[in-house]
Symmetry: C2
Subunit: 165 residues, 2 copies
DNA sequence: CAAAATACGTTGCGAGCCGCAACTAATATC
DNA sequence: GATATTAGTTGCGGCTCGCAACGTATTTTG
């Protein structure tokens, strides 16, 4: 029963696989052709506007780990394509409510259904336990990386991260 | 027995989790502080030099999906830090053999063991089947994205990709 | 063998995305 | 009402990227 060794071996394979995936996605972003002419960042921005309803620039910035200046420029680019609109906020004259247009919704739905469909095809022959394991690992990797890089809100004022990121 | 619906639901969760993970990694790259002062790209470049032995600039470029000009600049940055060396290739006077220095090896081993250790900690309480599922899904996502983006070598001259990427 | 074509790597250039800082306008505080 | 704070925009410099032009070395061709 080589249990410990088995886990070490799996950890190596997880690292390799994650590493490869991230590398591929870096290219995908670089090429700026994520889907339907949107960059990956634009795609996430659109997603956030749709999911979080009318949204402030600052909310978009923190969701995408961007400076507000770039969040503003990102809104520019989406607005120029008619996917979102800048609407004056009713309760605060300084703020804007970023809203999605019907074109934005339908484009996002199209992208999302493509990608969910791809995930479905890739996962459909796996057992339920294997699929659940994959979902869980993806979440844990994301959370661990967020924490390692100090992105998380520091709700608890514990010791600083031990590593620079 | 809601089998189909279960798979659809899992596919959505896979998409969400992958999406989140990729977003976090995009930030991690942006901050240029992947590990020990190396950017993610530099880290992958170092890894390739170590794994593939003395290597040409062009090989590095294709491994990282980069133009050879940027691969050359990447070698510059690693050489400046004393992690790799440019050695004239014995068999071809035009080419260079990029070799890793002892400092490069030890830095990479340190980074790798940190990340493999993190993967181990994140995966150790999962069942074998769940871990295998995670490894398999990461690989499939990477391959699917490569193919969708037209990165793969087109060994088979089948029809072109149906989507722009 | 000489000339042309090809291959390897470097550098120059412009484009895009990034964060920081300065700015305008609106709101909150006293 | 004066001052401080907040939301968002714009200017700036930095970094990475791909493309194109270049120098050098090799391979191909006549």
């Amino acid at each position: 029963m080589p249990k410990i060794e088995q886990i070490d071996q799996d950890a190596e394979q997880l690292y390799e696989a994650l590493s490869h995936l991230v590398r591929v996605y870096q290219f995908r972003d670089r090429d700026r052709c994520c889907c339907e002419g949107l960059s990956v960042t634009q795609c996430y921005a659109l997603e956030h506007v749709i999911k979080a309803g009318p949204v402030r620039v600052q909310s978009l910035a923190s969701e995408l780990f961007l400076d507000k200046s770039n969040a503003s420029r990102l809104v520019d680019s989406l607005a120029k394509q008619g996917l979102v609109c800048r609407v004056p906020d009713a309760t605060d004259g300084r703020a804007l409510a970023i809203t999605v247009t019907p074109e934005g919704v339908s484009l996002y739905e199209s992208i999302r259904s493509d990608l969910v469909g791809e995930a479905r095809n890739l996962a459909c022959d796996l057992s339920k336990e294997a699929r659940d394991g994959a979902i869980e690992m993806l979440r844990r990797f994301a959370n661990a990386t967020e924490q390692r890089c100090g992105l998380k809100d520091f709700n608890d004022d514990e010791a600083l991260p031990t590593k620079c990121c």
